[in-house]
């Protein structure tokens, strides 16, 4: 094991330019992958914030007794999909309109009777904010006799659904693309290392080293390059995150778990690429 570590470290010293180039390229590939990861994370948190606003409004028939409404609120709150129910009386609706529509102040002042109906504002629980659940609950709410009208931003909810789906697919495709590019880059650098050490490998074989023994330093070399590339990529991503957060808008960065996973991903990528490359090129040396 000591020799494996020494040989893997020596490969950095023997070919510093090639090693630096390999680590830089891996770092760049993982940086772009990380940037996309950051976009996905921020898009998700924005979507989550928007999703929180998904609500269904039930407009009540004028004159519905408060007792009936109170019982209905209890029933609706028992729905598994429902997070909260807010009762807005006719007066509260008018007051809210006055505050929000300041330009129509004159119109409100001339009113002799409140034209706005009372309503129930229903917020959905997390996990039930998709268009299907919302439509389902809205249909059930229409069944209440006092419900004059039930509204929800159908288009908006469906767009959110589509956006979520697209973000997932694009993330997967780009992620796989960059992972493949990283594998190819690491594979090529390992191939160059294998070829540059052909003489040494030949001697190792002559004196009776096993294939596994010869392979190990290359695998460690690939894993170390992957890990180093991953670490650099995290630093670069953090720089990009700081630049965006200070200059444009407040963004989110990877959590500790996600950063660890990213580093692990780089290491595994390096290991897999070198295993592939060594398996392919070692028999030719």
């Amino acid at each position: 094991m000591r020799l494996t570590i020494r040989e893997a470290l020596l490969s950095f010293r023997r070919a510093p330019v090639l090693s630096a180039l390999a680590v830089t390229t891996i770092a760049f590939a993982l940086f772009v992958l990380g940037l996309f990861g950051l976009v996905v994370i921020n898009l998700r948190s924005t979507l989550a914030q928007i999703e929180e606003r998904v609500e269904i409004v039930v407009y009540l028939t004028r004159g519905t007794p408060v007792e009936v409404v109170t019982v209905a609120i209890g029933d609706i709150q028992a729905f598994p999909e429902v997070q909260s129910v807010n009762y807005v009386t006719e007066d509260q609706a008018l007051e809210r309109a006055r505050q929000e529509l300041v330009e129509f102040q004159g119109v409100f002042d001339d009113l002799t009777q409140n034209p706005l109906p009372a309503s129930l504002e229903i917020r959905m629980r997390q996990g039930y904010r998709d268009s299907r659940s919302v439509r389902d609950v809205a249909d059930r709410l229409r069944g209440f006799r006092f419900a004059e009208d039930v509204r929800f931003g159908r288009d908006w909810v469906e767009k959110l659904d589509r956006l979520r789906g697209i973000a997932g697919v694009v993330g997967l495709v780009i992620g796989l693309g960059f992972a493949a590019a990283s594998v190819m880059i690491i594979g090529t650098t390992i191939r160059m290392t294998v070829l540059s050490r052909a003489r040494e490998i030949h001697i190792m074989r002559l004196v009776g080293a096993t294939d596994g023994f010869i392979r190990r330093p290359f695998l460690l070399d690939g894993a170390m390059k992957g890990a180093l590339g991953g670490a650099f990529a995290i630093v670069l991503n953090y720089g990009a995150y700081l630049a965006v957060s200070r200059g444009l808008f407040e963004a989110a960065f990877f959590s500790v778990e996600q950063t660890t996973l990213f580093l692990l991903f780089g290491t595994v990528l390096g290991l897999a690429a070198s295993a592939f490359s060594v398996g392919r090129h070692l028999p030719q040396v």
Binding site: R2, I203, M204, L206, V207, G208, F213, I214
Partner: protein
């Protein structure tokens, strides 16, 4: 120890590198393989250390037979052999001591065993004083001695030497040859492939001469025939 039985080896294009080669090398024997360049000397050595397999026939080396040899057996087979080449094949970025130790490290020998063993063989080849020298700081003869030390450090049963004096001047050639004789005197079999007939004439060892891949002369058979006539 080493047995070739009706061995043929064809080149990829079809011409034959070895034609019906058969011989047996006994334990502790010294054998010269002679012949012009391309006669098949190196091919025989390559078949011994399983760098190549015969097209037909069988090669048997210290219990390993090419008819049943698996890839995973090759390292174990090579640990019983020591191999020396004309171009020394030393690692330029390592000292003489590190080059020799390398052969033990890659076979998983314990660190505590390596240092004394390396010093013992470097002393045996007369290079203990230059253990810290890099190959570029050594003469050709000295580099070949390091290569021989590396081949010896695993205590091989047979030392295979492929034109070991090909790059050396006369004085260094004599020194390396004497070293190989000394090694043989300790019980290690030696197969020395060379086209240097002066070297062959210098010692009364068994000689096999090859011509275009075929054995045209084997001194052991000759002696056997003479003994048969005398009796």
């Amino acid at each position: 120890m080493i047995r070739f039985n009706k061995v043929f080896k064809a080149f990829p294009k079809g011409s034959l590198a070895l034609k019906d080669v058969s011989f047996h090398l006994a334990k502790g024997e010294f054998l010269f393989l002679t012949g012009h360049s391309g006669a098949g000397k190196s091919t025989i050595l390559r078949l011994v250390y399983a760098d190549d397999l015969p097209t037909s026939g069988m090669v048997r080396v210290s219990g390993f037979s090419t008819s049943s040899l698996k890839r995973r057996d090759i390292p174990r087979l090579r640990r019983r052999l020591g191999i020396v080449f004309q171009d020394f094949r030393l690692l330029e970025d390592r000292t003489a001591e590190e080059n020799v130790a390398f052969a033990l490290e890659v076979t998983g020998t314990r660190k505590s065993v390596i240092a004394p063993k390396v010093m013992r063989v470097l002393t045996q080849v007369g290079l203990a004083a230059k253990a810290q020298a890099y190959p570029r700081e050594l003469s050709g003869g000295e580099q070949q001695r390091v290569a021989i030390a590396r081949a010896l450090v695993n205590d091989p049963l047979v030392l295979l030497a492929d034109e070991p004096t090909g790059n050396l001047d006369e004085r260094a050639t004599r020194g390396v040859f004497q070293l190989l004789r000394d090694i043989n005197a300790t019980g290690t079999a030696v197969v020395l492939a060379t086209h240097d007939l002066d070297l062959v004439r210098a010692a009364p060892y068994r000689t096999i001469e090859l011509q275009e891949g075929a054995v045209v002369y084997d001194s052991a058979e000759d002696e056997g025939a003479e003994e048969a006539v005398e009796s």
